[in-house]
Amino acid sequence: MAVKFEKVGDHDYMLDVTGYVCPHPQMYTKKVMGKLESGDVLTLLFDNPSSGESIVAMCESEGNELIERTNENGASKCVIRKA
């Protein structure tokens, strides 16, 4: 189990922090968003419920668009487009 960050398309990236708890998911998301270009889309996979709230608030604060957010049996996904 390790943090995975990979390019999955022209402007699509995937960050998988499944298995990690606070503060890993939100801090790795912040770091990755800093690397992306405007318009790039990040699919974020995680399973730490409390990180989800912080990530949503972080998107609002920085103006990034939260395209999708789902939660199924503890496994969460956020799709974020960088402003």
């Binding site: 960050f5 606070c22 912040k30 103006g63 957010r69 049996n73 496994a75």
Partner: protein
Amino acid sequence: MANDAKAATVDAVGSAAADKPWFGHRGNLYAMAIVALTALGSVWALALDTRWIYLLVYVWFGLGYGIFLQYGRFCMASAVRDLFAVGVPRMAVGMLIAVMLFSLTAAAVQVLGVNTFHPHPMGWHILIGALIFGFGIVFTGGCASGSLYKTGEGNLGSLLVVISISFSQAIYVAQSGWLDKLVPASWTASAAEKMMPEELSVTEGWFDQFVAGYVWDLQGGQLAGQLGIDGMFTGPFLANALLGAIIPSLLLMIYLYHSAYKKGYLRRAKIEAPRMGDHLRGIWSMVTSSRNTAIAGLCLGVLAGGHMWATGELREHYEIFNFGELLAEMEYTEGLSMQDTVFDPGYWYITTQEAQWGAWAMDKAGVDMTDNIFFGLENGIPNPLINAPGWMSIGIILGAAVIALWRREFKWKIPNLEAAVFAIVGGALMGLGARIAMGCNIGAFFATVTNGDLSGWVFLAGMAAGGYLGVKAFNWWMEWRAGDDDLAI
């Protein structure tokens, strides 16, 4: 946009739930089973002896705390860490809402004459202890209460944090040897003057000398007494609640708005030349931006006041000052302190009962844990089965599990090596910080500032400074791991 995403979340969970009847979902059944077993256990305990009601109050309030902690993701580690790490003030705002509400309910309980609060001595130890505690919580991923509710979500890394806090505190308190050489001679002399029973050997062991030779010489108190405002209503409400808790909380919320929320709010609202009304709407938007956290803060504040009231009423009913007296009456004398007391704060507290768990296990392993002030004179080492505040902590885990199961957020998580090391080392730092500061984010901050004891704000300052340094260290760790590879994390 964020609202759309929230709607997507609701849809995803809702569609899954719609496939089955409510009682047909395994999570709901497990949640119901936890509540039913807790109720059955309570009935059984009362059938044995109605005086167990005193312990059961801790259990059920713990269950309530756990439910609201998980519901609002209420974690004071997140309050300081997310502010510095990702610029999100959500949890800090929720925490301040809880402080304001609890200060009002605590004042009401004080007016009723059943307030169980004891002020903390004010000194540098609070700042230093809180700084170490604040550094530790960045790495453990949760504060003292946050680690409990996350354990209830199935996170075994958080359970490791709880275990580390428990044993580290017990070891620090009982530690003697080379650390004694670092103790100032003035502490040793002052401790010797206290004429404590010989079996406590208060001039040996750094913690005993720290407590008897330093902490006991300090002064503390509630704002009402310090300002000489001793009216039945004005003291608790005007001095303790308004001046001691509500006004400082409002000032901090204004600071949070200006430093972490205003820029994003004005951009989203397309306001270029804001006026006072815009800023007030912005502050309100900040308060309501995370509805669950705000509701949790509100309910935790009311619940904590209710807990204090219920315990105070039971003490009056049984004519006792401490649960140890009731245990002695019930002939459970093993594990009581030499004063026939046990740890019994009468309100929300976390770390001391966890220290008792660690000490009890070490005692059973043959280590003498009673030759010190903390366990031997004050708190005792009761069997975990009759440790009332310990049951509050277990209640928090169970309450969090109930709502996590119900919300489909329960998931067993086994920590990897990195998370396990962070949990153990961070938990040990939290334990050390909590013992030096004489409490954690609940006992030394939340329960103090809400009762007009300003030492809690000193704890918050130290915890925030420690959190800031912890985030710097964590960022350094991430950078070191990433190296020069653009796609490496």
